[in-house]
Symmetry: D2
Subunit: 360 residues, 4 copies
């Protein structure tokens, strides 16, 4: 069941870039949560293409329809079915791609796996598959906001070699992030990143980037020991996003250069709660949330599909060259934040419901 | 089912540091694989404590018993049950820890989660839990070696600030790795790392490190699109190892600084097979293995339990200090390689069996 | 994940009687199976209401749309999404039902479970939910026909006290079954059953019935020992159909009155195959198919919703009477056969794919 | 994962009749439940062989050991590992069986499935596998007794043609059931059943029987709509018990002969609770418990292994005869009640924990 994620709050996505529609079924959402299509649409609008010169020119409204699971404005506890019908498909753009494997792209692997593939727009490996995740993730965010006041913030931390570095996230809001065309809330860096992306685009090339995730008001005690640790599931969730090649939580790779004394977050008790003075753990110790903010960083490689000519092989084993046409994002990190939030919310909602039954 | 990993080749681990035994049940291993206790023991011996001055002084033989699933020297297709009975437990060492939460350790989170905890030796969060994983992983390695000649190599890449850097892995063998007391096959760095660890130990402190994983002869087409991507499951598997805080595959975080043209691995066809000239992908494109080597890097934070005195809080909300006694590894990375191999083998064996049914 | 069935060949259904649509997502179908909407429609047409005076007057075309997972007439190995939009909904018919609990119906239990319910047409407990199962089951039947020539036949065996008894099933065809308005292929009994149903309908009442299932050309070795036995999964599958209250396989309850000598099916070897002279096992021994025909019998209780007045209680705890309006089948067994076949095919397709990996 | 049952309260059994041990791992049991080995032993003692002339002469103490998951007399929320070491194995008894397939037994199917089998004592298809279920079921019964006062009673309802019929179960206790050597609480019938079994045994034959299950104080709202209905999971659970060939709940097959008016259980509200005047539903409507007693009936076929000579085929395809030696129960129904209770308790405990998260 590769298309299903979560054990209780469980989403199954379906759909290809150039099929009739894409969507998802969310099973296991508790009954009684107020929900309407506009709740979902707000998140989809942050994900959709055609938002400016930094993203693909493919123009999609991405209008969501809720086909089941909601009655009189509330979830009923039964599966919620989402569908977004595809509109702006230009299958003609993809004829060359049917023959030549794009380097860095999943084309070859799909053929190796299934014997053939839907070559139009990447089929199932297209970023359009993430629409279903954003639909379900929007419900997860709404659910966690209601039961725990949990808040998800994700932004672009670096583009190519432009890194915005550390800044005070105390006053960070989603509005500030979304006000930046590259979704970097630090204005000076936002502009430099924009230049970096446009330079790559002008060259018919693409560029990589990193995204940071901050989750506030995380309930303590989420995460199951051993395999379904909170950090392990977040890692799976993030690496499952197309083009993600790395994940770290808290001090991450930098923390490996530290001594234990320095790294350990001092625990103290105040106002009826256990807290830590630092957060090298990134909110997760032993795979379980300790109530501090969750802090992660993710690596997104440069977009595989570029318009520059590249050497590659064909389905028939001919070695040659391909200059991909079609419309593609020059930097996938820019549209990633809402997907990152969605996946994190799906993990936390599922673990929240799992935790409800751990004690008598 | 937090203690179960894998959908077909599926392992369930059980046991605490100071319970009667630790072990695992491996379900879904195909029938007919030659298997005996010595096959498993070879892997457990690489994991066990008491191997020298770099690891905990706790001395355990860790003798495995196979209780089911093998008949006349071959797996029967039914569950294989492994048990390792605990021997050298000194519960007395842990009395202080029952009261004071160790900073950086799972103590507090277990109490938050379950209302109380088995405080002896970390209970379920102890590294002894990984014994069950190594048992099952040994079977997975044997299975993959037989069906595909797959080979797993993991070694310590850095300790604290000592980083062995890139070296030619073409002639690397498990013997070379295991010949180093820190499991770094580059001799000059191995010695420096050893000094780094002993220096930390002398200070009653600990130090972090990174581990690299290389998998050769990986069958192509493993990994399921969307959530059960090969890289996503490897990330979950690795982050599920105690003290692991980061994961990257192929170019990872460094790859985010590159352009697409540079990053894309050129595909060519030779000798009846599709290959790539570089391996920035780390053997995994679109979540599916392309037949190239899998290359990953993992971050392990410094061991949480140290003998230096640290400020912390007690179960009752008293703020005070704790100097942990007990016997602990000063650098967990040193014993991690066999666990890393085991988890990778479990992921690949499961995806191998899943792939068997993807085409008519 | 109550709405998902199957571990590899895995279906998730969604939708309510009076929502926008009902449907299913089928994940894990192998790539390369020829499939089009007409393949599915043929099965849905056998399930749909409005087929005559024996079924509900609700008239639905039940036109299926395949929204994903098929490319150039073949399955791609990725999720197949089915949707059937609802048409003939008369919500006005259900106003009384919002207040009074129908005896024998799921109304009360849904309220107890979720705190409220979609009272229109039974919501998720409506027989319309089975549309998604029939869509996925049609693919399962096509898949098994192609790989093993497997054939599914289900028919009405009794209605009320009219029981058609044993007859020669050697020449039975789906056409013969479907030619009968009650789906009983024995003509004389078919007429008696029809009278029985019409008599109940005239009285504003309903009547129960039994359905038999025969599966031919079943591959041997399907079914996993212990919990996922073939017969155990068939039992779950059948009892999951609305109104089903009993299941037996092979000799079933009658077999409990026999001695072992009489009951044991003699094994013999002929033409390169192990066979049995009798089939008291119903094709399943130790939870595993032995290659003989699968034979089951299922009990369907009388339809709960009837137009006669019945004593019952209201949501508010008032005790009173309800005479349900609305349009309902007087005997649910009549439309059950295609659903029974679908569920059996889903079980067998899943176990077939599971079996592919049991040996080296 | 054929050896795992339950999604949250989840048991994995392992072990063969003639391996070193049999056992189970129970994952997902909430923390804080008082538990010791004696709690389990009481249930195992009801299951064990060697209880008299009605069961196999194989004499096993079946002493359980809890290897993990319990600390200071309480469950910790982590996996509970049970092991029972095998003692009285006479492998010599089984040499003939290695060659000749027992009619009605799983021998042939295991060979077809895995290519070979552990022929000693039936291997994994042995009734000894159910020891693991009884261990986990004992915990489930204790858990449900504590949280809801739920009580499980199972007894032998018929043996061969001797049927004890309906009797008043209002004052039925487990003690009364266990006082009968055949586990039929109606004294006159108990004696007749005993004669029936001894007559079959004397003939070197076996006989079938039925078991009834009654569950009192069932929490309402248990069971998930669609596939994980309470009755569907009970059916799977029961059919997964060796030799079980049929299941019915409430009115079952007899109910198919009734009209709806007669069958529907009248609902009324009294003392703050919704109740029904009759219980044709058997405590389950729309797949969800309504708070009434659960009532089921199960069919067990005659034991396959008999000492009379039977025609059969050998592994090599030779047609011949087999008179099985070894020690076998002449009527498996007699030892079934505690297994039936265990499986029912596992289903209910899992659904109880699932239900905890269905509402906000």
């Amino acid at each position: 069941m590769s298309s299903t994620f979560g054990k209780i709050f469980s989403v199954t996505t379906w759909g290809e870039s150039h099929g009739q529609a894409v969507g998802a079924v969310l099973d296991g959402c508790p009954a009684g949560l107020p929900l309407c299509e506009a709740d979902i649409q707000a998140f989809l609008d942050r994900r959709r293409p055609g938002q400016g010169k930094l993203t693909t020119a493919r123009d999609e409204k991405d209008q969501v329809r809720i086909l089941s699971g909601v009655f009189e404005g509330k979830t009923t506890g039964t599966p919620i079915s989402f569908a977004v019908f595809n509109e702006d498909q230009r299958s003609g753009d993809y004829s060359e791609i049917a023959k030549w494997y794009r380097p860095g792209h999943a084309d070859l692997c799909y053929d190796l796996k299934y014997g053939f593939r839907d070559y139009r727009g990447g089929g199932r490996s297209s970023a359009r598959e993430t629409i279903g995740r954003v639909c379900a993730g929007a419900v997860a965010q709404k659910f966690l906001a209601q039961v725990a006041g949990t808040e998800f913030l994700a932004w672009v931390d670096s583009v190519g070699t432009i890194d915005c570095g550390k800044f005070d996230t105390g006053t960070l809001t989603r509005e500030k992030i979304e006000a930046s065309p590259v979704r970097c809330p630090v204005e000076t860096f936002s502009e430099k990143m924009e230049q970096e992306i446009l330079a790559a685009k002008k060259d018919g090339d693409s560029v990589g980037g990193t995204v940071k995730l901050l989750v506030k008001n995380v309930p303590a005690a989420l995460g199951e020991p051993v395999f379904d640790r909170l950090d392990a599931l977040l890692a799976q969730a993030m690496l499952s996003i197309p083009a993600c090649k790395g994940f770290e939580i808290g001090s991450g790779f930098a923390g490996t250069r530290m001594r234990g004394r320095e790294h350990n977050d001092e625990i103290y008790f105040e106002d009826g709660k256990f807290r830590t003075r630092t957060n090298n753990a990134g909110g997760c110790v032993g795979g379980i949330s300790n109530g501090a903010d969750i802090e992660c960083r993710l690596a997104f490689k440069p977009t595989a599909t570029i318009s520059q000519s590249q050497k590659t092989a064909s389905r028939d084993g001919e070695n040659g060259e391909l200059a991909a046409k079609g419309r593609h994002d020059p930097c996938v990190a820019v549209r990633a934040p809402v997907i990152v939030e969605s996946m994190a919310a799906l993990v936390l909602a599922d673990l929240y419901l799992q935790q409800k039954r751990n004690c008598l």
